[in-house]
Subunit: 250 residues, 2 copies
């Protein structure tokens, strides 16, 4: 697994908080670093930025290249349980444990100040991993997340092949299902563009909003007119996310 | 010719200064907009950003795809005089006249507040166009420019094929030759990374520095340790360039 790390100048020798970004379908560990324009503010805030890949790349599994929304580039940040996938497609464990251990050992990241956010499929991943492991993640946000994957085509396709037929297990990987039952202990920021071509069919932020209402989750869901799904949107709001995490990680 | 324009929100109806970016070898009109992370600050400063392509793309000329440093993606911002090229490879006239006319007509840019900057081949282009037409360009800067193309392999290859055998004409397209004889009427900012892999053989900022000394050009040439030639470097210094132009264009 490749990953990208930005270490702000001047933090050598002292532990800095680290903010992990999970990218969307088809992206790699390079996409956010190249396109989001986040490094300048991360340097000012003293935040280490970490971006991981969206699936394993060094194994070949039958079917992993048949479509852009499943397999390579589309790990969905779950730990697969189905034969063929369960030995390698363990993105949740990788993001939650393996990657932070490497970043903390080799780049001086603080072991008790971790933030996580992501975009689209990665917004789903960040919300799910944060909600499942709130003791390990101290700040949480998302951009245009797949907020209710068990109810939409992208999620149903991926979950059925990584996790097997629809079951209660699926709900453990769905941010809206999780949030209905438990609140993350700190406020969550979510941004969504209203000109996003995937909004209605794939993203469903209203499900997350309803879940937050049920559990008492502190959620700021901002809807932005005229913004689409891509990195122009991310460039436009990423500073607010870095500032959100920086405040939470103080 | 395709070009990219960023118009800051809230400037409709009033003329805003426009800053033109000329990209380097192999880039297109999209590269700067995607990779430089400049829009947020441009919005704050009220600057229109314009990025053009690096050569014509809709014509096919024998030899235009044989190498990455000549022809497609490598117009060198000159007006070609050689047969085969002179009808279409007129990037200098395009940047100096045709493109601003379009931007001023369709995007409300101010007709008397134009800035120009660029990177590598585009740094050369910005310096040459600014120095040749100081009445049209009111602010000027460059990042890792090919500062003395008549003396380096990239420039010699391109000039010999666009302009013919080496002659006095070449010097009219060389920023260091031009600056030796005339100063741009305002201060110029140039940034250069010292870990730039092209620094010694292709860029030669010291020639520009010597020329500025000869003509009395106000030149701030900043050398940055450990920075290379690519967009990480541009991301790191682009804010200073926008602020430079914003000050000059007030």
């Amino acid at each position: 697994m490749n990953f990208s790390v930005f270490v702000p100048p001047g933090i050598a020798g002292r532990q800095a908080p680290a903010l992990y970004f999970l990218a969307g379908l088809t992206c790699s560990d390079e996409t956010f670093m190249i396109k989001a324009g986040a490094q300048r503010l991360a340097a000012q805030l003293g935040l280490i930025l970490v971006a991981c890949d969206t699936s394993p790349r060094s194994v070949e599994i039958p079917g992993d290249r048949e479509s852009w929304d499943f397999g390579i580039g589309a790990g969905f940040y779950v730990d697969a349980t189905e034969p063929g996938w369960k030995d390698h497609y363990r993105m949740a464990s990788y993001v939650n444990r393996e990657l932070p251990a490497l970043v903390e050992e080799h780049f001086g990241a603080h072991t008790d100040k971790r933030g996580i956010f992501g975009h689209s499929m990665g917004g789903h991943g960040a919300l799910v991993i944060g909600l499942r492991h709130p003791q390990r993640w101290h700040s949480l946000s998302a951009l245009a997340p797949i907020a209710n994957p068990t109810a939409v085509p992208w999620g149903q396709k991926a979950f059925s092949r990584y996790l097997g037929p629809q079951s209660a297990e699926w709900e453990q990987w769905d941010a809206s299902c999780l949030m209905r039952q438990r609140a993350f202990p700190r406020p969550i920021l979510v941004d969504q563009g209203l000109a996003d071509e995937f909004l209605t069919q794939q993203l469903r932020p209203e499900a997350l909003e309803a879940a937050a209402h049920s559990s008492g989750q502190a959620l700021t869901l901002r809807r932005h007119e005229r913004y689409g799904h891509g990195y122009w949107f991310i460039q436009s709001v990423v500073a607010d996310h870095l500032e959100h995490h920086s405040r939470m990680l103080q």
